[in-house]
Symmetry: C4
């Protein structure tokens, strides 16, 4: 198979994945309901009604940041590949299955926000979906390594790929802890999900370089 | 027409098709309703309510895997083409028409899940849409072959294309059998749809190579 | 500005336009409601209920084919361009505004299907949106010609572009006639919209070549 | 890192951003509800009902034009870049967060349209989201400049980028004024938002050139 062909196949996987990530991240907004109001409402009450929905905005934000972070890791991983194989395409489809599914547990968290026992279940359910997304990223990375999908000449991308796993592995553990704590204190669970998303999204290397340059 | 031009036209068909497949596959999640709960519900009941919706998750999963598998076959087919013509573009549009329509029968299966007679009709309706998608893939492949859209020099892609049909043709028969059985035992029909999707998604050649390598 | 730069700008306009067309065409399915059923319904009644919704499926099909046809014409036009300018980008945005708006009149036709007087208004409203889409295609083509956006060396693409207008201009007239007739006989109006979509989608040149080859 | 690699990373950021902008702009149509009608309604009343919804169409139009304008500025900015870094990717994600969120305040404006006090809050809320989008564009441009992401040889793109900020900076001020006025006279606020969107979308340089050529 020619090089152009190989590259082309990789490009199409990227286009499809970018599409699914972009749509999943944008559909999330449909899960946020506008507060119902009466015709005699005052500004203060409207503001209170909007404020009252904060767990919904938080769930939106966590889901958005998590998909965003997964997209960034995914694009770093696929960038570093020389070519992809059929198994990679299917494993990628499983990752997309869970990314596309995320609006459902997000809605669950929004709709059940007033009911303590339901909220506990929702937080765990939500955490499991987040965890599987990160797990699939790791599986993709390991499959790529085992099958030699990284090019021979991209030694320093390989290091970058290693860095990816360095941030992903602790996230898995953190998701398990967060889901367990979330069963007892839902808000704590969601807060940890938020921290994990930020941790995944922060570009450690770039930040270090940025600070390093300013310090010098 | 220059080569770059031809390639460009093909690229745009891919971009549009990738878009429609990606959106259709991601919109499916909107069809899954969050179970309604009361404010005095207990965790056990919430879990039971979530579990009770399993036919909905199954329909989601079957639709997702089928669109995913069709996308994979579509990208293998278009990959192997040297260029496309106007008729290919229109036949492709018919394939997209049914792919984009799939969320409707998926929702039908979800909403009618408790009513036996309606479920029977829904399973057949659903199967017909799945069947037409696969049929259109075959039609696209045959049109490409008849019109010489495959390049002269891609002998081994041609073989791959043959393999595509090798997996698609039995699927057509399986869909007809599944829809007929599904009319009498809806769950059996859906289960066969799931098996067909997995059969379509599994990369026979890659799996064989993977096992072959490990065995040696 | 370098050639690569110019090409790049055109590519991004295509990517964005493909995205909007693909999403608009796929969102249409959300407008089709699954018939409400009772738990004691029989298969025959379910089939009758599904059949009863035919104007909804027709509206879906007309909208799908029209956006599909507009996408095909749009891609033929942009293909033939050497580069684009800022005005082209904005005119293109107006075309996308109406393409993205189409799900609204489609839903209007579905929701008002039982009420004769409302249906008359909906058919005209729908026709106006379809007409503006085609009108904007013509405006884009004329702007491109006036500003010399077609390359100097693509004489035969230019002819193709001329062919585009050859099919678009009569469509404008047909939409006006269809909307007027549709005010009095809604179903007639929609039927003509369908014929226009098919007329726009049929690749006259390719069909002629196909028949010509078979005849010889 | 090779040049192709750098370019590739930029391309994928564009693809993902184009996806999110395209979806957000197309989802807006779902926020427009078809007026409920009775079965004995007359054409005149239907027209009156459609007309009565004008603030909804206006909100749709303002949101569409604003996202469209932001997309145009975004593509001009990214076009002018030589490469991107990790921080740019994350700042870009924040811009997308607000672009994807815009359907929510748009729906707020539609659903609360009859209630004066709620409308006042909605107009301010809406303005803040619009403002943050433009603010993030400026932040992206300044980060790119500070980090030297513009190529050394693209002197005149740099000027263009300067022009971008020339149009963006006054918009920020205008949004603040519009939101403040909008709190007291909602319709005035929305009208100014519309003017800002048009101001952002109009390609000053191209328009000047167009008029200049005709005058000469």
């Amino acid at each position: 198979m020619a090089d152009g062909k190989r590259q082309h196949k990789k490009n199409r996987l990227e286009a499809f994945s970018d599409g699914v990530f972009a749509i999943a991240i944008t559909l999330l907004v449909l899960e946020i309901a506008v507060p119902k109001i009466t015709s005699t409402i005052h500004e203060g009450e409207v503001l209170a009604d909007i404020w009252h929905e904060w767990p919904v905005y938080l769930a939106y934000f966590v889901s958005f940041m998590t998909i965003g972070a997964v997209w960034i890791e995914h694009s770093a991983l696929v960038d570093a590949l020389d070519h992809i194989d059929g198994v990679f395409m299917r494993l990628n489809l499983v990752l997309l299955l869970f990314a596309a599914f995320l609006p459902f547990p997000t809605r669950m968290m929004s709709e059940w926000k007033g009911v303590a026992d339901a909220q506990r279940v929702a937080v765990v359910f939500y955490g499991v979906v987040l965890l599987v997304m990160v797990l699939m990223l790791i599986v993709l990375g390991q499959h790529a390594e085992r099958e030699g999908l990284f090019g021979a000449d991209i030694a320093d991308e390989r290091k970058e790929e290693a860095r990816v796993k360095y941030q992903l592995m602790p996230s898995l553990v953190a998701y398990i802890v967060a889901a367990l704590l979330g069963f007892f204190v839902p808000r704590l669970g969601v807060s940890i999900y938020l921290l994990i998303a930020i941790w995944l999204a922060v570009p450690i290397r770039d930040v270090r370089r940025l600070f390093g340059r300013r310090a010098s």
